[in-house]
């Protein structure tokens, strides 16, 4: 695990991103707060629809507006609120100080531009370099992400590369300007498991080398365990638990986190173990949720849970839980 200095460089406070559709307001992110320190890897975990991707897009102000809108909250990068930045200021930030890699390497690269042109574009936008310097830096980046024969790859097109290689190109593009924060939105979900292992390995190496902080968005708890130092668990647009990675897996306190851990099929389980289900489904985000969003599916739900929305409470060692009846015993993992 890489070292973090503990100094927060990004502070998200009570972020609310809503989407105004014809059928109602979808509260994708509904009051989420967290911070990322220098060199730290923070994982945001949740299932589809929980708002984790929208959170990351909100940080870079990439929300399509209309229908989306960041209605409240602040996103402070080195103390300055990104939500107050002009479009030009945000463009300076994107790709340079904070960069992002996306889930689908197949469609995130422009099919009609060569690899060299695409990586070069990032460099040309943010750095004043000569053509030779740009080419040198591109080769350096390609070597850094372990692309074989970089000199010939520079002039190739995305369709000539495999999925794993395309994801490496994306990582190279994202790291081109030595960003302080790298946001990785489900970077390995679309990849085969052996390729995923390669990419995660690469990300760990690069993290140690460049000291960039990483915000890792994923639904895979195995990836979280391998990569993250701190974990934020989201459900229905809200943060339900936050802890360092060891505490989260050893003593999860929120019933949802516990349910998630128990319902996951694991390689180290006995083969015939029956999975523990979480009954019901994720609530529709279109209606306003009164009380705890997880209450209808929760076995520990009480009267209070259906009426009052739980508040985040620190249970020691920076382990935050939003629950009226948190699980206080050690989970059998």
């Amino acid at each position: 695990m890489s070292q973090t200095t503990g100094k927060p460089i990004l502070e998200v406070n009570d972020l609310r991103t809503y989407f105004y559709t014809r059928d109602g307001v979808v509260r994708s992110v509904d009051g989420v707060s967290f911070s990322v320190s220098e060199g730290e890897t923070l994982a945001i975990v949740g299932e589809s629809g929980c708002g984790k991707s929208v959170t990351s897009l909100s940080i870079l102000r990439l929300i399509a507006s209309p229908p989306g809108k960041i209605v409240a909250g602040s996103i402070r990068f080195h103390g300055e609120d990104l939500l107050g930045f002009s479009d030009e200021q945000m463009r300076d930030i994107r790709g340079d100080k904070i960069s992002m890699i996306f889930q689908e390497p197949m469609t995130s690269l422009n099919p009609v531009l060569t690899i060299g042109r695409q990586i070069g574009e990032v460099l040309e936008l943010h750095r004043q370099c000569t053509k030779e310097e740009v080419r040198r830096r591109i080769l350096e980046l390609l070597k850094m992400v372990n692309i074989p024969e970089p000199e010939s790859r520079i002039d190739e097109y995305p369709h000539q590369l495999s999925g794993g290689m395309r994801q490496r190109i994306m990582i190279a593009m994202a790291l081109a300007c030595d960003p302080e924060i790298l946001i990785a939105d489900e970077p390995t979900t679309a990849l085969d498991v052996t390729i995923q292992a390669q990419i995660l390995n690469l990300m760990r190496e690069l993290r140690d080398r460049t000291r960039a902080a990483i915000i890792l968005i994923t639904h895979d708890l195995g990836v979280v365990a391998e990569m993250a130092q701190r974990v934020v668990v989201m459900y229905a647009g809200r943060k339900v638990e936050e802890a360092n990675v060891f505490d989260l897996f050893e003593k999860p306190m929120h019933p949802y986190t516990l349910g998630l851990l128990n319902s996951m099929p694991r390689l180290d389980d006995a083969a015939s173990k029956r999975l523990v289900e979480i009954p019901g489904m994720v609530p529709s985000m279109r209606t306003e949720i009164v009380g705890c969003a997880f209450a209808p599916r929760c076995s520990s739900a009480s009267e209070r849970c259906t009426q009052e929305s739980p508040v985040l409470k620190d249970h020691g060692n920076e382990h935050w839980v939003a629950c009226w009846n948190p699980v206080l015993v050690k989970a059998n993992v």
Partner: protein
């Protein structure tokens, strides 16, 4: 095996039906209007035109064919609402009757070309060896401008509304075939069509149950555009004398006869063209609204 859904739909209870009708006008119509204002306006206009077409004999003030030379070229007044033409015929009555021709041609062409085009398209989508042959024929037809094609066909037959309909239909069919064929080709790859095959569904049932309902929406939208196009084509054909026979008033006809007089009696062209434009515009609005409403990508779910 059908499942009867709501028992109220099967009821022959008149009070129930009246309730639903008033419910429609009170609640659903305003909501529809809010969402698709132009489509609702278009639909209302079309209903009005249809009304005119059906009740033309009652709406017309005089016989549209009645020639009264003494009343030639009268401008619009309280007696002749739209004026009279060079033969003294009442323009207003002719325009009312003209609605019949335009709407008949428009709807008939839309219906026929859709049915014929759909049949051919379904066959070429599934019978692979027929595909190249049929498509080359369609490509050939499409490379001739539809107006010229219609004129050519009219030139070899006598002028009548039926022949106008057939001529325009022939010109519009290739486009429908192309649309249906591409839809069928993409639908064939859909997992649920594969699932139907795995369930043992024979080909004909697959066509009826799985393919047809899923091409109905784009076809319907296309049909509205064909209707608009056909109405204009009929007007053009009549304008150049290759369309509806001159004794039957059509909006194109009326304009054709007064072609040379438009500088002194502009109203002769003005009224039929207003009606034609309004109808075509209404059909286009309706088509756009249908397309927006039926397009699954614009569906509510996020």
């Amino acid at each position: 095996m059908s499942m009867s859904i709501h028992s109220s739909l099967n009821s022959s209870d008149w009070s129930g039906r009246l309730f639903r009708v008033s419910h429609f006008f009170k609640d659903q119509l305003p909501a529809l209007y809010k969402r698709y204002p132009f489509a609702v306006i278009g639909a209302a206009t079309l209903i009005l035109m249809g009304f005119i077409a059906i009740f033309a004999p009652y709406l017309a003030t005089v016989d549209p064919q009645a020639v009264t030379p003494l009343n030639r070229l009268r401008p619009p007044s309280w007696q002749d609402w739209f004026g009279t033409d060079a033969l003294g015929r009442d323009v207003y009555s002719r325009v009312m009757y003209g609605a019949r021709v335009s709407l008949t041609v428009g709807i008939a062409v839309a219906f026929l070309s859709t049915v014929i085009g759909m049949s051919i398209g379904l066959i070429t989508g599934f019978v692979r060896w027929l595909d190249p042959i049929v498509m080359r024929i369609m490509d050939g037809l499409m490379s001739i401008p539809s107006i010229l094609l219609a004129i050519a066909l009219m030139a070899v037959t006598k002028a009548s509304i039926e022949n106008v309909i057939i001529a325009i239909t022939l010109a519009e069919v290739p486009r429908v075939v192309r649309l249906v064929r591409s839809l069928v080709l993409s639908l064939r790859e859909q997992p649920y069509v594969e699932a139907a095959a795995a369930s043992g569904t024979p080909l004909i049932k697959t066509l009826l149950r799985h393919i047809l309902p899923n091409i109905a929406a784009p076809l319907l939208v296309q049909a509205t555009y064909i209707c608009a196009s056909a109405m204009i084509t009929e007007a053009i054909l009549s304008f150049i004398g290759a369309g509806t026979p001159p004794n039957i008033p059509s909006w194109g006809n009326i304009m054709a006869e007064s072609r040379s007089l438009f500088q002194i009696a502009g109203y002769l062209i003005l009224f039929p063209s207003i009606f034609l434009s309004a109808t075509v515009l209404a059909v286009n609005y309706l088509g756009d609204g249908l397309r927006d409403a039926l397009d699954p990508r614009l569906s509510r779910r996020m």
